[in-house]
Symmetry: C3
Subunit: 218 residues, 3 copies
């Protein structure tokens, strides 16, 4: 390949990364907005829950690995975007749109889960953390936005109680990232495989209606 082709591929890779990141953030924010609406929160509450769902996981990761400034301080346009999204949703969304929206964000949500997981694993590995810690950081990045959203809405987090694989997909994807990293694979490949494993497992789980094994305590 000549250098222009390589440049093109890199360019495409970056664009794809950005598109998935935006789609994931929008999907996470919408999940918060709809939960806030169903809990009859006021306009402020809906915005806060949307922000928590979109940015909570990454912020918690940055807090835990002591990374400053936060990603949303470096990219303040993401804050403006989610704020605009919240206001637009409140102006134009009605409850009969909710089921459709929920359907429409399933795939962006799965892709976002994969990408956010990969970013958490990546940051932890750069910080020299052990493999299991890196995977947990990925899981926290991908899943804890939704957990904070549910805690503020006074619900047991869906990710822990709906018996459908979600965090488990991020766990598997995180290990894929760590494995490739330790084999010396290039960064973009680890990222891609992590996203594909996470989103693929999540998609399979939704399609085949997989259930997490229930704990028969009695």
């Amino acid at each position: 390949m000549n250098s222009s082709t390589i440049h093109n591929i890199q360019h495409w890779g970056e664009t794809l990364h950005l598109v998935v990141e935006l789609a994931g953030t929008v999907a996470f924010a919408l999940s918060g907005i709809m939960e806030g609406a169903q809990k009859r929160l006021d306009a402020v509450g809906v915005c806060v829950v949307g922000f928590l769902a979109a940015f909570g996981g990454g912020t918690l990761r940055d807090l835990l690995i002591d990374e400053r400034p936060f990603f949303w301080v470096r990219h303040v346009e993401m804050l403006w975007g989610v704020l605009a999204l919240c206001l637009l949703a409140m102006l134009f969304m009605r409850s009969h749109h909710f089921d459709l929206t929920r359907k429409a964000i399933e795939w962006p949500d799965a892709l976002g889960l994969g990408l956010f997981t990969a970013s958490g694993v990546h940051q932890a590995l750069i910080g020299q953390m052990p493999a299991l810690v890196a995977v947990l950081m990925g899981l926290i990045t991908g899943v804890f936005g939704g957990v904070l959203r549910d805690i503020v809405c006074n619900e047991i987090p869906t990710a822990f109680s709906d018996h459908r694989p979600y965090a488990v997909c991020a766990f598997a994807g995180g290990w894929a990232y760590v494995g490739l990293w330790q084999l010396g694979a290039p960064g973009w490949m680890s990222l891609l495989v992590c996203v594909l494993v996470t989103a693929g497992l999540r998609g399979l789980a939704m399609w085949r209606n997989w259930q997490l094994p229930a704990w028969q305590i009695d």
Copy 2:
């Protein structure tokens, strides 16, 4: 003005600042103590909820902008004060005092909201953060003490669900601070205007019984 007059004004300003800060902290702590009491918490729980309401917002701000030591480590007398307040409340407060107390802390609470918001915005601006981030830090400082209080008491945060303007007042006051700062106004003036805008809007909202526009989702 001669230097003695200026000194006098500075002195008065500092005293006023301290009085508002104390009044706000007492108002926030009392809101926590009363909520803990109504949830039938034990003595430990009432103290913890009082502490969370009084110090939670500022602590979260310091965590997010990585400011150490926390303000309550530098001013440990505030911890002792709130501890004493919790014990005195448990000794002498009865449920028929609650409505009166709630009435009495409305204004100190509004002033405290304004001052805490201003302090959050100020610290974020000093740390070179973008305008929107600074305003959000102000909002978090002013509002998230109450949010943590409600989460521990297993309630949806009042600030997000009672449809009365509260965080929105802090949001407006925060923008006033940022605007004056960017115009190069002296620090005391930005602070004063932020407190007046926040507490004024909050007062108006309580007086005129304003409601946040409800989101008609169906």
Copy 3:
């Protein structure tokens, strides 16, 4: 004493420290696992709540005093251990084991409370924090794992609402540590007394069925 005796005592002290720390961590994790099970969480939820109960308090302390890396990053084998414990519990524990388990972990839990409190006080004192702050850090280390566990399970934290002395024992033990430290006692003695005071008071409270004074609000 000759040096070999001293060496032996040190060795025994360290082993004892490790045994208590392991027992306490297991007890805390089991409390989370059982609460997750009773809330009908899925396998992921049970693990997360177990982790939160075991590591939440120490992590919050490290966040607040800005200590990095976290203790579970330095001792990643503790994470593997608790993960294994969660899986074993889900495989082999049944609901008729719960009462027995709850009985069996009472003492390890009390000892763990004492040790975790001591570790929190110790770290804060090393960081030059005032006495009251150090005691609060101890209390947070010992108690807030359980608080986070209960918040995620959508319950008012037991430590604040069951009217039985728990955090208060940690508070007393923390002051014992601070007092001995300020008198210049050796570290192992402060640690030992803190654990004995905390676990002793907790044991007495359980044995004599002590109640925290209820606040008669009406």
